[in-house]
Subunit: 204 residues, 2 copies
């Protein structure tokens, strides 16, 4: 039983978040009651704003309140390089590395016969649109990096896209799949290890 | 770099929560963008409501929008039994057990010479008030359970309270300290093991 109905309601909402259990939800709720009022209200407002203002970028398909989004309209980023990912979370993962300076294209998923995801349900038409040489003669996309997930659906999607894009004369690359950094070869799975051998490169 | 300013702001707020790192904050933010809009807004509203409506119960000192709180005013609970805890989170922990049917008293901390917490800063005056026999002759508090933390400050607070309450003729008990259930004796610390021996009880 809770001493406060509002506390109980908050815990009920928090427990719906991914990987937040009953105990974590209680701890988070008490935290929100203890911090300065403005801090808690700022979080509430940030959640509200994100749902009331944020839509999708018409170019890359990522979450954005502006169209084109901040990434697509940043002149510092190389528009000739487009990295194709499945989900907005993948963009965040690449941005965390801090090494990629090109643009993105979010498909919104991967091809999956099992889950019934067909090409029309992904942002593939929009991708082909982006790959068309610009009418004003400016240099268009030079390289398409396929960064779908290294699993069955992601690999199938990458294969599908590479064949679809081949006639357009755009260079198509796939991110390297191999043993992850910091891992232990002894515990690597067969598929990863086979792929690492297959993808070996000459030491320079 | 983020594709959306509002997404970035939300991640900034989420990362301030306890045990939420950059990656978890990003995952939570994307989750809040993916779920039905009403679900996200309900969380925002629950946070706002908790900060705008919830204060403290004048009796037990726990968080509550009503005074007395739902626990203090529940006629099903035994008012003759009062469990003294340091923080509201401790009440939640006892309520999770589902076995305690008495009332609570939240001190708001523990005595700590190091951190400069003196008896006046805890809700001890209010506790003594509760222990006074009711003027209407109804039965008052019969037993006071000291459930402060089993550490230096909590033990000191329990000792202080037991001496303070002794003249009032109220039975004062302390929760059992010993080896935690499911633990391995081999890895128990010295103090816990000594306390478990000291607190041994005859098998009935």
């Amino acid at each position: 039983m809770y001493s406060s109905k509002y506390l109980e309601l908050l815990i009920e909402e928090l427990v719906k978040l991914p990987s937040v259990g009953q105990k974590s939800a209680q701890r988070l709720a008490l935290h929100l009651l203890r911090v300065p009022r403005e801090d808690a209200l700022r979080l509430a407002e940030a959640i509200r704003a994100v749902r009331e203002r944020v839509g999708f970028c018409g170019t890359c398909g990522n979450f954005s309140e502006a169209d084109p989004c901040a990434l697509c309209s940043d002149p510092q980023r190389d528009g000739a390089l487009v990295c194709v990912v499945e989900q907005p979370g993948d963009v965040l993962a690449f941005e965390r590395t801090g090494t990629y300076r090109g643009r993105y294209h979010v498909l919104g998923g991967a091809l999956s016969p099992l889950e019934g995801t067909s090409p029309e349900q992904l942002r593939i038409r929009e991708l082909l649109e982006r790959l068309r040489p610009p009418a004003d003669g400016s240099p268009g996309v030079r390289e398409l990096i396929l960064a779908t997930n290294p699993n069955v659906n992601g690999e199938a999607t990458a294969l599908y896209l590479s064949r679809l894009v081949a006639p357009l004369g755009v260079k198509v690359t796939r991110i390297a799949r191999g043993v992850p950094m910091g891992s232990d070869l002894e515990y690597s799975d067969l598929v990863t290890l086979s792929r690492a051998l297959e993808g070996r490169r000459e030491v320079e």
